[in-house]
Symmetry: D2
Subunit: 315 residues, 4 copies
């Protein structure tokens, strides 16, 4: 068990991090109230799928919309439920440096193995500023850090050269890319050819197949909240280079994307779809933190039918 007073960097995670690390949904009963029973069912549902880690408080976890109190409660309960079966990674992205550090310290005490951070997302920093920020931040963190490239939400890209320089900062172990720009991802792979222990993970599950086939390490895939085994199977097939299986499983992943994430008009369709589907599956509540709200009955009915079709497809 980690000593809560010790602020030195704890690296208790194997590198490169490999496999499927689902970005866990945050189950809510109502505003600022965790769905504790749902959380327990969700953790067990995901772990039963054979995943390689669990990432809480990411975009899929609606982290920026949650109070700090609730974020801490979630970290604590999740770490206790997971109980070291897999590493828990905790999102600490924040516009305020101090709040990121405090959350990281809390996560370390709760037993998390690493933290994950995208660029500060109000003020758009330049690349040199970003790098300096990472230097300052990493020096204060008790856990290893994964960068999280998420320009659609942060307005800022971690440019490849910035990532290369950041990789020299002690404690920075890898990057999750959610830009959906595979040219960028392949550029990173080329840059890190000589540093195979730096983890390169993909966000969008639609890109998991090619990520693994071409040497990437894993995926932080939202759909693994719903069908964890599917993503683990795809990862395994790609690692074994079984292209027929990869093609078949990749199509199933695309089906999830095309159905569950595509109901309604807003950019939040992905989030609402996953949470609604989890609710239809009886796993947890689908209450959402503001500014979003759960799907109403017509959309829910569509999601319900999609789940049946997907289950049939997945056999």
């Amino acid at each position: 068990m980690p000593d809560p007073e010790d602020q030195t960097l704890q690296v208790r995670i194997e590198t490169p991090v490999r496999g499927i690390l689902p970005p866990m949904v945050t189950p809510l009963l109502e505003r600022d109230v965790l769905d504790v029973a749902g959380l327990e069912r969700l953790v067990e549902h995901i772990l039963a799928g054979g995943v390689h880690g669990l990432f809480v408080l990411g975009t899929t976890g609606e982290a920026p919309s949650l109070s700090y109190r609730l974020r801490r409660e979630l970290i604590e309960r999740t770490c206790r439920l997971v109980n070291e079966r897999v590493p828990v990674l905790v999102g600490i992205t924040d516009t305020a440096f101090v709040e990121s550090v405090q959350l990281a310290r809390f996560a370390a005490k709760a037993g998390a193995r690493a933290v994950v951070l995208s660029a500060p997302y109000y003020f758009p920093a330049g690349q040199a500023e970003l790098l300096e920020y990472l230097h300052h931040l990493a020096a204060e963190l008790p856990l290893p850090l994964f960068l999280y490239n998420m320009p659609s939400h942060t307005k800022v890209v971690f440019e490849p050269e910035t990532v290369r320089a950041a990789a020299d900062i002690p404690g920075i172990l890898g990057l999750k890319d959610s830009s959906a720009n595979m040219v960028y991802f392949h550029q990173l792979q080329l840059l890190f050819q000589g540093r195979p222990e730096f983890s390169l993970l993909i966000g969008p599950e639609e890109l998991l197949a090619e990520t693994i086939l071409l040497g990437g390490h894993g995926g932080i895939c939202g759909g693994a909240n719903l069908f964890p085994r599917l993503y683990v199977d795809l990862y395994d097939a790609a690692m074994r280079r079984e292209l027929d299986a990869v093609t078949r499983l990749h199509r199933q992943v695309m089906s999830v994307s095309k159905t569950i994430y595509s109901v309604g008009h807003y950019k939040s369709s992905y989030l609402k779809g996953i949470k609604c589907a989890l609710s239809c599956m009886g796993i947890c509540e689908d209450f959402m933190a503001e500014p979003f709200h759960r799907f109403r009955e017509p959309e829910r009915e569509i999601i319900r039918r999609h789940i049946e079709t997907l289950r049939a497809e997945q056999g």
Copy 2:
């Protein structure tokens, strides 16, 4: 004095809010440490310019980069220093609904007169979601609310029709527009022709002259941290429709913009320039919250010379 237990809406601000309400810089000694002496000098410097209010914890105040503890300290100290001489408005923009409410409650107890809020800036909400969010939020706030349109940082516009609908929510009294899009601002003016008590305030000081000439109510102008009297004079001249004076003062405002806000390469030039100038003027420290850092000596030297020129220009 407000009763700290009373959560009902306190409207102690005259509408429409008129005049110059500087978005105050947050003076810092170092990370998470307020420059208390600098704050006092800054408040007195600004109030001595005859401004009509003071807005803390906006973009110019680096609010999103500050810890919640420091934000509360700043609110408390500023309200005490101002001591009801002018209304204090407090920025409560946050991606987490609960944190916005908590800050608003704290501000009410500290004696602030209103709060200011832009759209949640991580997840891009749709307009209907934004409106619902404002309904939920306003119901929890003990102070009147001004909207803050800031799409370059939040990725979201308060569309004119959304503003019109929001104006029907009790407690929402006006909007500050920092989009720099005067077509949008004039569209709002047209929409609110029949509701002259709804305040329409401009952010970019480069647009203050025309805002007032064409019927807008005031400006939340960063340069008023440095030269409060200049902006008050421009406001007054425009209210009196003295076009020669307006033209002369507008040019001086453009000079501030062209010099102080245009040193260095990044989008943060505006913020760094103001803070550096305040430091050169002996008013407060120019330490900046991450991810930014203060100007180094070469840029500081340029700012120093610009201030001299501007002072000569302003006579």
Copy 3:
């Protein structure tokens, strides 16, 4: 009459260009067929409003969607119809340098007084490349050139420093700004304080009032196709600094914008609205060049009613 063989620069236009220069709609009967009778009525309608010039083949003229043959026909017919009553300016914006030059030469022979050019709009050029492009181009042009800043369509801004440098190229006489960013426009005004003969014209009519009040030279306003007198009156009132009249006329201009330009969902609402309104007013056909199409009857009915209201408003 200009000598058609003489390719040297003909400057037969007073600088700075001042007043209202409507960006004329291109009346079409069907694909690639000019509405010749409509063109004649339109030219007379606009000139009867007292405008100071006429700009053909701009964005409002759908120039990029027209064949070169039709563009030449339009130039020729318009110059003949206008018959030197006001200067005719011709848009020569093109992604191909050679085509711009050829159109400019044709325009010179037809009797146009100047040409207007935005940045090449397929490949996004850097500022140094833009400036070199303008050097090369101006050397080939037989007519003076106005720059046209239109970043929403070209993806490229003429940065203020680029404009300043371009103003030193012989033949470049001014700039029309359609960015709707008045901070940019005021920056240009500051830069050109010492060069009052360089014309600074505004595109969006919603910004005409403040442009003239604060020292700009004129407007290239689409609504002047419909109500040329309104825009001329607003220009005159602003030149005479009659703020009550300015405010009243500015509101009428905003009404045009809010009604005629806001029917339907697409970004083409402005163009479709103007063309439809001209058709409702019996001036010319509303056929549109691909990829757009004219409004159908329901939208037309709305436009028809808006015109009545606007006419009542304008008295």
Copy 4:
């Protein structure tokens, strides 16, 4: 040989189109002057690499920057040089409908097999307008049409549902995607699972490996101007599912991208790099159409060294 008078649709191309179809550079001696000898060497160099087709007048061919006269000369000469050894595809993208049609008719007479078209790129059309535009256009074309998704330059995406509907228009046979967004590409693949004859081709060569591994048909890869055999080998290895070879060749492709396309600051680095490299290799001149210009000696020296390294790498 095609009958030049016959305007009915000529489909003389096997579907789906498969393999490597290089987007050919347009060799220029100076403004508006084709490098005829260079063109011949370039065509032979590319064909010697075993490519499956040739695409002229695309983005890499600087088509929008070329005069129509030169475009026609290029089409004619290229078709004659290729002499039916592989199909020639011709870009007809234009903002003017009529010009696209005229170029397509010219291409048909010259012996081209298909035309390629992105969205009109000045006015941003809505999806319904785009679809109507394609209906009108395809009806006028004598050759089959490939869509070209290029949002970075056109500002418009062909949404998946628009592509699905467009595929029902007679003569529309496929799509080239240069969005670099593989989620989009995989969505199209899912949509067209039941229509295997509709060609799905990738633009960015960095994505060629995964495109072919996961069922795409081919690539329109700029680097194949330089090293046609490399891209053909990668295509073949991916078709044969030899993952070790794919990985090795994919890395070589990434090396080309990282070296040749990354010299200089502007977005035009890709184009300038390819043209400069072709010149260094003695294949053709590197003069560029405005608004671009060729690399100067320092950049040229870098490119020269990169070519040596790449040749060593490719063995």
